[in-house]
């Protein structure tokens, strides 16, 4: 006689994600033909080229790519921690570069980041209360009592108790620290969270906890999220739409469910094959990942992926494919035309 299987706390009702309400209103944050080049010894390093995307209220966008693809650069540009060398970041339709101090304050409150490493993102000599209140105190619009209440409110939102507020970050585990970092991001009642690999430094059982918290924020509070990750599986769980980046350029865009089942771009297919399922009976892939990432200092001619692509043809080495719109999304590949695969 065994007790019921309570270890699996599957939420019984609505097993699949219900269709999200259609994006309401104009985008909160947009990237328009965004580019960033760094001067390095030996020339220019194009970390990011011609990236266009937008985050509308209530939507969740995933940015997927491997190390060196430019996703960290993109995140820093969207956070105004760095300036683009071409293109613009727009907040509510206005370029960040044209905004006044007062407008920047509004932007800073509306767009909040959570970084990957909670050991680096919490100042070791500040109590949790001060860490969480920082986005509030910077604008000096709230009373002291208001700040105190808000700190406790956001701590509870991420599943921590109020007494956490008077302790130092060093007293907490990685998972708890990441919850504190999320609480901090919530303090100023943002409209958009920029999440940069928020679970990839966590243990599996903790990853699921954090992902659920973030999903609650999306669904229960209608928070828009931009989720940067190397892992298609977490992006599938977290996002409606996915943008795949390779060597600083968008190669494919589409609904998360479609990208994770029938990818159009060979690179997306390789990423999907590399996302190993926890299932030994999974069928072998016909598009196994090949080759190494070329140096971003001297990217290959034509399509940057041609050196690793099983389908590469002569044209792929000579001409860079443009990002084309298809009924399934967008893709930059010579093999795919508007009608489908050629």
């Amino acid at each position: 006689m065994t007790p019921p299987d309570r270890a699996l706390r599957v939420v019984p009702e609505r097993a699949e994600t219900p269709p999200r309400p259609a994006p309401s209103g104009p985008p909160i944050l947009e990237a328009r033909r965004l580019g960033r080049a760094f001067k390095v010894r030996g020339g220019l390093l194009h970390a990011l080229s011609n990236v266009t995307l937008s985050c509308a209220p209530g939507t969740s966008l995933g940015i997927v790519g491997e190390s060196g693809c430019g996703k960290t650069t993109l995140n820093r540009l969207l956070l105004a921690l760095d300036r683009p060398t071409s293109g613009e970041v727009m907040f509510r339709g206005k370029p960040l570069s044209d905004m006044s101090r007062a407008e920047m304050r509004v932007y800073r409150r509306a767009v909040q980041p959570v970084f990957q490493n909670p050991y680096s993102s919490l100042s070791p000599r500040m109590k949790v209360r001060r860490i969480i209140a920082e986005p509030l105190s910077a604008s000096r619009e709230m009373s002291r009592a208001g700040v105190r209440d808000r700190v406790i409110e956001v701590l509870e939102q991420v599943g921590l108790s109020a007494d956490v507020a008077d302790r130092l970050p060093s007293e907490f585990s990685g998972g708890q620290r990441q919850r504190i970092a999320i609480a901090r991001a919530l303090a100023s009642r943002p409209e958009l969270l920029l999440l940069d690999e928020p679970v990839s430094s966590q243990d599996i059982s903790i990853q699921a906890q954090i992902l659920n918290i973030l999903k609650d924020l999306q669904e229960d509070y209608g928070l828009a999220t931009l989720f940067v990750s190397h892992d298609l599986a977490t992006v599938r769980f977290m996002c409606d739409e996915v943008v795949v980046i390779y060597l600083g350029r968008v190669v494919e865009r589409g609904p998360a469910a479609r990208i994770c089942t029938t990818p159009d771009h060979p690179y997306t297919a390789a990423l999907l094959a590399a996302a190993l399922p926890a299932d030994p009976a999974a069928p072998a892939t016909d598009t196994p990942p090949m080759g190494e990432l070329p140096s971003p200092l001297s990217p290959p001619s034509g399509c940057a992926y041609h050196t690793r692509c099983p389908f590469a043809q002569e044209i792929c080495k000579q001409e860079r494919p443009v990002l084309k719109e298809t009924p399934r999304g967008e893709v930059a590949c010579h093999r795919v035309s508007a009608e489908g695969w050629s």
């Binding site: 105004a80 680096s120 100042s123 901090r184």
Partner: protein, 278 residues
């Protein structure tokens, strides 16, 4: 176990040093500046011919050596505190600024640090003394001119480290200005390393002050400085060893204690920093 013991001994010695410097002069009956010609070069109490009147003997002017060592501790401590305050604030301010701003500002300031590190402190002090005469102010200025650079170096390196931590980026995304970030995030996180530098520098300052006073460009006589006392006694080293040796022992003990405590602090606060600093 032995490490821990030596740390405790050294810390105890430093506490005694500070207490003696602060309160010692009020507890002693002898005036460190007034001697008695009848009691010139009296040996310490335990030596032949010594008396309980002058526990550590007297110098060539019949002044009580114990009283002078105690008064000298006060001067050493004062020099240390003033130098560390001046050099520490100038060095930390410039180093933090340099590391935070980066670019050409950083390059220029770091060349300045190299320059300061290459200054010949003794020659500089002699020159200074020749122009304005030996004084307390003189040694404080000269020692500070050289020592600020160590704070600048340490605080620059530490600022570069802290600047790359995500919490600094987060503070920027919260709309905090650069000054607020430096005071709220950078300084509190580089403070431990600076405290280590300051601790280790106590030893350096005491030795420098003693050297300068020994050469006659430090604390002017008749004020008792440990270095000056060693210098005064050196003509009698054969006949009256205690006049030089006792303040010399005081210097060695305090400097050793400072270094032991400083090393232990370094290990505790920042294990990676061992061997750096002063």
């Amino acid at each position: 176990m032995t490490r821990d013991l030596s740390f405790k001994l050294a810390l105890g010695l430093l506490v005694v040093f500070v207490l003696v410097a602060l309160f010692g002069p009020y507890l002693l009956e002898h005036d460190p500046l007034r001697g008695s010609l009848r009691a010139r070069l009296d040996p310490p109490a335990w030596a032949e011919g010594g008396s309980a009147e002058h526990l550590l003997g007297t110098d060539r002017l019949g002044r009580d050596v114990l009283a002078r060592i105690v008064q000298g501790a006060r001067i050493s401590l004062a020099v240390c505190l003033v130098v560390i305050a001046i050099a520490g604030s100038i060095g930390t301010a410039l180093g933090t600024f340099s590391g935070y701003v980066g670019g050409w500002v950083d390059r220029v300031l770091m060349r300045l640090v190299d320059l300061a590190l290459s200054l010949p402190v003794i020659l500089l002090a002699l020159l200074f003394a020749a122009v304005v005469g030996p004084s307390f102010l003189n040694i404080v200025i000269v020692i500070s001119m050289v020592l600020w650079s160590q704070y600048a170096r340490m605080s620059r390196g530490e600022t570069l480290r802290v600047k790359n931590e995500d919490y600094v980026d987060l503070a920027r995304t919260s709309g905090l200005g650069h000054v607020a970030i430096i005071f709220r995030h950078v300084l509190p996180n580089i403070a431990p390393s600076l405290i280590v530098v300051a601790t280790l520098q106590v030893g350096v300052v005491i030795v420098l002050e003693a050297s300068l006073s020994f050469l006659g460009v430090g604390v002017p006589p008749p004020n008792p400085s440990w270095g000056g006392m060693v210098a005064e006694g050196r003509s009698y080293i054969v006949t009256a060893w205690w006049v030089s040796a006792l303040p010399g022992i005081a210097i060695v003990l305090v400097v050793m204690a400072v270094n032991v405590v400083g090393d232990a602090l370094t290990d505790r606060i920042n294990p990676g920093l061992r061997g750096r600093g002063a």
